[in-house]
Amino acid sequence: MDAGEEKRKRSAGRLCCLCKGNKAALKRPKTLEQICKECFYAVFEEEIHTVIVDNNLFKAGERVAIGASGGKDSTVLAYVLSKLNGQYNYGLDLFLLSVDEGITGYRDDSLETVKRNEVQYGLPLKIVSYKELYGWTMDEIVKSIGLKNNCTFCGVFRRQALDRGAALMRADKLVTGHNADDIAETVLLNLLRGDIARLGRCTQITTGEDGPIPRCKPFKYTYEKEIVIYPYDLCIYSPNAYRGFAREFIKDLEKIRPRAILDIIRSGENFRISNSTKMPEQGMCERCGYISSQKWCKACVLLDGLNRGLPKLGIGRARAP
């Protein structure tokens, strides 16, 4: 190949392969197509719209809580959802829902971001605090139980806080910013730890449909890298704070074959899970009415321990009363 031909080819390769008009500005992480900025925004939003429509995620008139942590995923989710809601007339009543664990200095920055989002996107914001929901802040819990096992409390409380907050605000649905990388990672982790019940459930786009407030993930097929690129106006900055070795593995896979993330999700959706696989039976907590497989939900067991001055209750193998 002579130099002239090579040069021509290269310059032709720099045109956006979707609109064929503009100069390509980035290599799209999902497909490695060279596309322009405008086309990237368009396909990014269009894909999310298709996911929402194809999976019937919302009905007109629904009140939808967006779980907002102040991180990149939920920030982009809030922006894209409010934009699509206006563009395609979903007729949704959107609002931001954040959790304040009550850890001094930890949430301050991210809550500031959420508050900024409230103003920028014109979405109402509700911050539910552990203090408000459970009567304890994490700082108080740590003071009572020490630094050991405090993550158990925080994890259990946070899991419920969004649902409780959404119920408090009379939401019909709760959306979270879980992306394709998160879901692929969950598939692998469930495979590695032998959890067949969760392996069958983790790729569902909507969970808890039989419960009071279903949760859904509009970013199920959206790559983390694209979520990073989207708000930063095509900045190549990419966070390195990926969780654990499974995440690292997924990032390595993505480098070799970008399609691999979607392939993992497809595998997860197609796994032939036996119908006889036992799913944990969901009942209601006798104390607070939250979904629970036991008599009392985990948060109530932990709270009961805290309030009775027995914080170790509910941690490890201790049984509920």
């Binding site: 469930n190 495979l191 730890r193 896979l253 070799i256 074959r257 595998s267 032939r272």
Partner: protein, 464 residues
């Protein structure tokens, strides 16, 4: 030192903690001490003892691996092999079994164990009065993937060593077959250019590797068919299967995955069995080392792409938790297998002991479905969406290579099939007849299953 809690010179524990001082004592005395101590000593007798502890099973000989002595370790692995064979009815007395050798430890052990089992059956046959049940036959095969890139002298040396070893495994005598993948290809000449040309049409490195492994299976099937074998034994062990589970997940083959990881896979003309499924690669390598078998990693070239990444990932998680490969296999075991993952239809129950017969009849947990559409390249069952796609495209694809591509699973389409039509046609022309024939066979009137699936399309094309 002192981890066992035996205190001071006069303490009850006389184990390794005081070995230095006891160095000159007689071995028998030390053994006695170890035996006495083993009950009360709380210190672990794990590999930390560097093999100086006694075997947990026979309590007589020093442990060499996993707290077992060489003989007990071998016996435990052979036990796993035997349980897999008998409880799944893998080998019946009338069978002729072909063991696929790769040069690696797992297939070598599979051959040794098959020979041992055959030898025992032969002894029982010699001793029995009526000599009613025949003794199954064993043969071995090696697939030569030699392509010009690989040093043929190394391969030749390995083949000679394997041939020698197989000839030693008597009585009964065994045949050793060697075939090259290239011989499958119609366009191939002796120097393997046909295979190279075929691989060059594939752009994806992982796709190349995978196609090579599918062709290997095709060659093994051909040897087995041509020489009258009725079962094909592979040396797939827990570790390799765990790698396959993860790589199949990553390649989007989650639906067809359970087909590949069962003890029995009867979708091929000659059913494939995996009797070493519950042994770890590490265990098999250790046994090879203990038995002094020579290992030839002839094709253990540094593989690239997804397969390599997955095996290094598995090695890493195994380091963190040695039972991880077993957990992965156990998880995937819970996925529903396919109807061809059992042998019951071909099995003559009369030949089996009643104990095994009972087990087999109760273990029929595989789902009964009349048929599955299989991908002509990888042999994986097609998903519903693949079948829908096939239905919509098969009537439109007038040319053979297009029809072939329409029958392939999504994973093969993306990692093996060339995207451009002219390259696809070239790729199709280079494929072995046996692989191309799978689509022709599928559309022939004899195959009701495909006709049922795509009936509407066939009708519409007839009407035209």
């Amino acid at each position: 030192m002192g981890s066992c809690g035996g205190g001071g010179a006069g303490g009850g524990c006389q184990s390794e903690c005081f070995r230095d001082r006891e160095g000159d004592e007689e071995d028998s005395l030390r053994t006695e001490d170890l035996k006495r101590c083993s009950g009360s000593c709380s210190g672990d007798q794990s590999p930390a003892n560097d093999g100086r502890g006694l075997c947990n099973k026979c309590r007589e000989i020093a442990a060499v691996y996993n707290n077992l002595c060489g003989a007990c370790f071998r016996f435990s692995l052979y036990g796993k092999f035997k349980v897999a064979v008998t409880s799944n009815g893998m080998i019946s007395p009338t069978d002729k079994v072909l063991v696929a050798l790769s040069g690696g430890p797992a297939s070598r052990i599979a051959l040794e164990f098959a020979h041992e089992m055959q030898l025992k059956a032969q002894k029982s046959w010699d001793a029995s009065k009526d000599q009613a049940l025949p003794v199954f036959g064993v043969g071995a095969a090696f697939i030569d993937e030699s392509i010009p890139l690989r040093p043929s002298e190394v391969v030749q040396k390995a083949i000679e060593e394997m041939r020698f070893r197989v000839s030693q495994l008597t009585p009964p005598p065994k045949v050793f077959h060697v075939a090259s993948i290239g011989s499958l290809l119609s366009a191939d000449t002796k120097d393997g250019t046909g295979l190279n040309a075929l691989l060059e049409t594939i752009s994806d490195a992982t796709g190349k590797e995978d196609l090579l492994s599918y062709l290997r299976m095709l060659s093994l099937q051909k040897i087995a068919l041509d020489n009258g074998y009725s079962k094909l034994v592979l040396g797939s062990c827990t570790t390799t299967i765990a790698c396959h589970i993860l790589s199949a997940t990553v390649k989007g083959q989650g639906y067809s995955l359970p087909a590949d990881i069962q003890y029995v896979d009867a979708r091929w003309e000659i059913p494939v069995v995996l009797p070493l499924r519950s042994c770890l690669a590490e265990e098999l390598s250790m046994l090879c080392h203990l038995d002094g078998h020579e290992i030839h990693q002839v094709f253990d070239q540094p593989c690239s792409g997804i397969n390599n990444l997955v095996s290094s990932f598995i090695a890493r998680v195994q380091e963190e938790n040695p039972s991880r490969a077993r957990t992965i296999l156990r998880t995937a075991e819970k996925l529903r297998p396919f109807h061809f993952n059992r042998l019951s239809e071909n099995l003559s129950y009369e030949m089996l002991p009643s104990r095994v017969r009972r087990k087999l009849q109760t273990a029929a947990n595989a789902e009964f479905t009349p048929s599955e559409l299989l991908c002509p390249i990888c042999g994986g069952p097609l998903t519903e969406s693949d079948v829908t796609r096939l239905k919509s495209t098969v009537s439109k694809s007038s040319r053979r290579h297009e029809a072939f591509a329409a029958h392939c699973c999504q994973s093969c389409c993306s990692q093996i099939l060339p995207k451009e039509l002219p390259s696809l046609e070239h790729f199709y022309s280079l494929l072995p007849v046996a692989m191309r024939g799978r689509v022709k066979d599928a559309a022939s009137p004899g195959n009701h299953w495909l006709r049922d699936q795509i009936e509407d399309c066939l009708l519409s094309s007839d009407e035209d």
